[in-house]
């Protein structure tokens, strides 16, 4: 056993070293920089909580945070429920469902930047497809400038991101549904539970852990992975109205050379995401213990 432990330790040592050097170390350094002022070339100057005070006093940062909250609302709830519905349909007896399941994976084959370009040509006011389509179906009054003003531009960006988020939720829920014991489903059928009732009362509660996973992944997406889509579609504009924290962090760090400010925003972003993940985990454990 002792030699086994040594063996395990020696195998784990190198990856742990990697993670320490390339992940934990930079996190600590970035946290330190969030209390400093640095432009990548001059000396690093300790300024205390000055950068954090600016986060709560500069309207640009507050606007970005507000946009992030809108993103969280947009990419957590809607994709979850649409994905659940799709997964429920695909979990049943459906001819050719392998085709539909395969189609669910297609959005992941498209890079976020390509997706952004595609949706720019959907939402564009002059050249886009959406406005003419609305005209064609008699909803011409709903034509809008989808990308040129807030909050419509943020909502349009969220709608574009649903192209990937909905399949992701559907695939995770589908995996969850296949793990539900067959006996439970059969028993619910015997008890007369069908369709939406079975989904709400039997299946959804059993998918609790998967729902938590989806929630955390979608929150992470709202804070990190939407950068490419937003950059290509609006660059955070016009007049910075569609900026989210990761766009502001990029501009502060690499365009304005404000490493301290960017690190403070990154720290805040990390605290929010960690807080939400821990909160969700805690709630999940509480529900488990109660149940």
């Amino acid at each position: 056993m002792r030699s086994e432990s040594k063996s395990i330790f020696s195998f784990l040592f190198v990856p742990f070293l990697f993670i320490s050097i390339f992940l934990i170390g930079p996190i600590f350094f970035s946290t330190y920089l969030s209390f400093c002022s640095w432009d990548l070339n001059g000396p690093i100057r300790f300024v205390g909580i000055e950068n954090f005070i600016k986060i709560f006093t500069i309207s640009r940062y507050q606007k970005a945070l507000l946009n992030n909250l809108i993103w969280i609302a947009g990419v957590t709830l809607a994709p979850m429920f649409i994905g659940l519905g799709l997964a429920y349909l695909l979990s049943g007896e459906l001819k050719g469902k392998w085709i539909f399941t395969g189609l669910l994976w297609m959005p992941f084959a498209i890079a976020p930047i390509v997706l952004g370009y595609i949706f720019t040509f959907v939402f564009d006011f002059k050249l886009g497809l959406l406005n003419p389509f609305l005209c064609t179906i008699g909803l011409g009054s709903l034509q809008k400038s989808w990308l040129s003003s807030w909050p419509l531009n943020t909502i349009s960006l969220i709608i574009a991101s649903l192209w990937v988020r909905v399949p992701f939720c559907a695939i995770v829920y589908l995996a969850g549904m296949t793990s539900i014991p067959r006996e439970i489903i059969d028993a619910s059928k015997v008890d007369g539970s069908i369709g939406l009732h079975r989904l709400r009362k039997i299946i959804f509660p059993l998918l609790g852990p998967f729902t938590m996973l989806i929630f955390v992944c979608n929150v992470l997406y709202a804070f990190q992975d939407n950068f490419g889509l937003i950059w290509v579609m609006t660059e955070g504009g016009p007049y910075r109205s569609s900026e989210v924290l990761n766009i502001v962090i990029y501009k502060e760090a690499f365009v304005a050379s404000n490493i301290g400010g960017a690190s403070a925003l990154a720290f805040l972003s990390m605290v929010i995401v960690l807080g939400m993940a821990i909160g969700v985990l805690g709630y999940s454990k509480y529900v488990e213990a109660k149940g």
Binding site: S7, N41, K126, S145, Y239, K251, V255
Partner: protein, 445 residues
């Protein structure tokens, strides 16, 4: 424990240790190999001839750069690989992160003014005074390429900003290039009445600075210079007047639909603006006279240029915005001798002539002839000289940046007033707050 079992246990222990050591060696070897390839420690026999890396933010010029650089390769055997960046903010961020390191490009385009000072202060730029010393005749532009006594740049273009107009549209509407501000507004009104958008070109991305940067110097050029020296405020009446003019022009539809011009799908690149001009959809576009190169490339010949008149008729001199665009060199280049050869070649009158012929640009060396320039450019320059010009550095170069990003804030404010004019005072106050913070930290000059 039996002997056999003892031996088996020993073998297992050694095996476990051996496995660990093997895995560690494989991982370490992979890292070393990767770093070696990345940092160019490949064997000499596998190395290619010297190739210089050239980066630029002007994607539309790439083919022209490649054409002219072929001459350098033919003369010296040194290859140049040109890479264009579509996204200006990404380009700025990349250069600022890499400058002074071997990973930065050997030669790259940049901007003069405070943007160049910021880069020069990193200590990562090569001294290029040798290029001027080797090629007399360009002394007039040396000052603007110098930061704190060190020549850190050479020109690739020296231009002034102009309104480029579609001659057929002007003829159709029955108008001539204006001499006064009132004539200019009347011209815009007539064009709009004829169902044509007066100005093509977008407002999104970097372009938001164009109109504030052109109007303020034409209202009060002294204020403009004081503003960029930190001695005036963005809330002063002159800036407000410029903003009000923009709001009125936008409300009259002179810039096109804000729902379109405020998106990335609108012309953020010059060739698209030219196509809108050439099609007659717009009557005018506003860029530097360097646009003549693009006009030639797009095959549009029915154009003219005029200088936007002063807003304030009491000004003695015509305010004219100049844009000297430079090449810079990375001090940490792996090929300093080759880079030196490049700049000596670039600044030679022969190369300047050839480059300016390709681009229809004005040569910046007095030993170069200007006779090849299209008559429209020659007429435009002549008309500018006749108006007793006062040259002022373009706002993009002159404005404060760094972490306060005053320039970015003004661009953002100029875009927002197109759709939210009621926010004018708040927006200008926000820009001034950043401006004040910048000058408090970095001092006045």
């Amino acid at each position: 424990m039996s002997t056999r079992r003892k031996i088996m246990n020993m073998v297992k222990k050694v095996q476990g240790v051996c496995n660990s050591i093997t895995v560690t060696i494989i991982i370490a070897a992979t890292i070393v190999a990767g770093l070696s390839v990345g940092y160019g420690t490949i064997p000499a026999c596998a190395q290619e001839p010297v190739t210089l890396e050239f980066w630029c933010d002007k994607v539309g010029y790439i083919t022209m750069y490649e054409d002219i650089f072929e001459d350098f390769t033919d003369e010296t055997g040194i290859k140049i690989v040109a890479t264009g960046f579509y996204d200006i903010e990404g380009y700025i961020g990349t250069i600022k992160t890499l400058i002074g390191k071997p990973e930065a490009p050997d030669v790259f385009t940049w901007w003069t003014g405070k943007t160049m000072e910021e880069l020069a202060n990193t200590g990562g730029l090569m001294d290029l005074s040798f290029a001027f010393d080797a090629n007399p005749g360009a002394e007039a532009v040396k000052d603007v390429m110098t930061v704190e006594g060190v020549v850190v740049a050479v020109p690739q273009q020296v231009s002034i900003w102009a309104v480029t107009y579609n001659k057929s549209v002007f003829k159709e509407v029955g108008i001539e290039p204006p001499e006064t501000w009132d004539e200019f507004l009347e011209l815009c009104r007539k064009i709009k009445e004829a169902g044509i958008t007066p100005f093509g070109g977008g407002w999104d991305s970097w372009q938001g600075f164009i109109w504030p940067g052109e109007l303020v110097p034409r209202i009060d050029p002294d204020y403009y210079e004081l503003l960029n020296a930190g001695k005036a405020s963005y809330t002063d009446p002159q800036m407000k007047q410029a903003a009000q003019i923009i709001i009125e022009m936008a409300e009259n539809g002179y810039f096109g639909d804000p729902n379109y011009v405020l998106t990335l799908a609108s012309p953020t690149e010059v060739p698209t603006s030219i196509r809108i001009l050439a099609s007659g959809e717009a009557a005018m576009i506003y860029y530097g006279d360097w646009i003549s190169g693009f006009l030639t490339k797009e095959g549009f010949t029915d154009w003219g240029m005029f200088c936007l008149p002063n807003v304030n008729p009491a000004l003695e001199k015509q305010s004219v915005i100049s844009e000297p665009a430079p090449f810079l060199a990375n001090k940490a280049t792996k090929h300093p001798e080759e880079v030196r050869k490049f700049f000596e070649w670039w600044m030679s009158p022969e190369t300047i002539m050839k480059w300016c012929r390709i681009m229809n640009w004005t040569p910046w060396n007095v030993n170069c002839s200007k006779e090849f320039l299209p008559p429209e450019i020659l007429n435009f320059h002549k008309s500018v000289e006749e108006r007793n010009p006062r040259y002022l550095l373009r706002y993009w170069e002159a404005a404060p940046t760094k972490e306060f990003d005053v320039r970015g804030m003004l661009i953002s404010a100029a875009q927002e007033i197109l759709v939210h004019p009621e926010k004018l005072d708040t927006l200008l106050a926000g820009v001034q707050e950043s401006n004040k913070s910048y000058w408090e930290k970095y001092g006045f000059k």
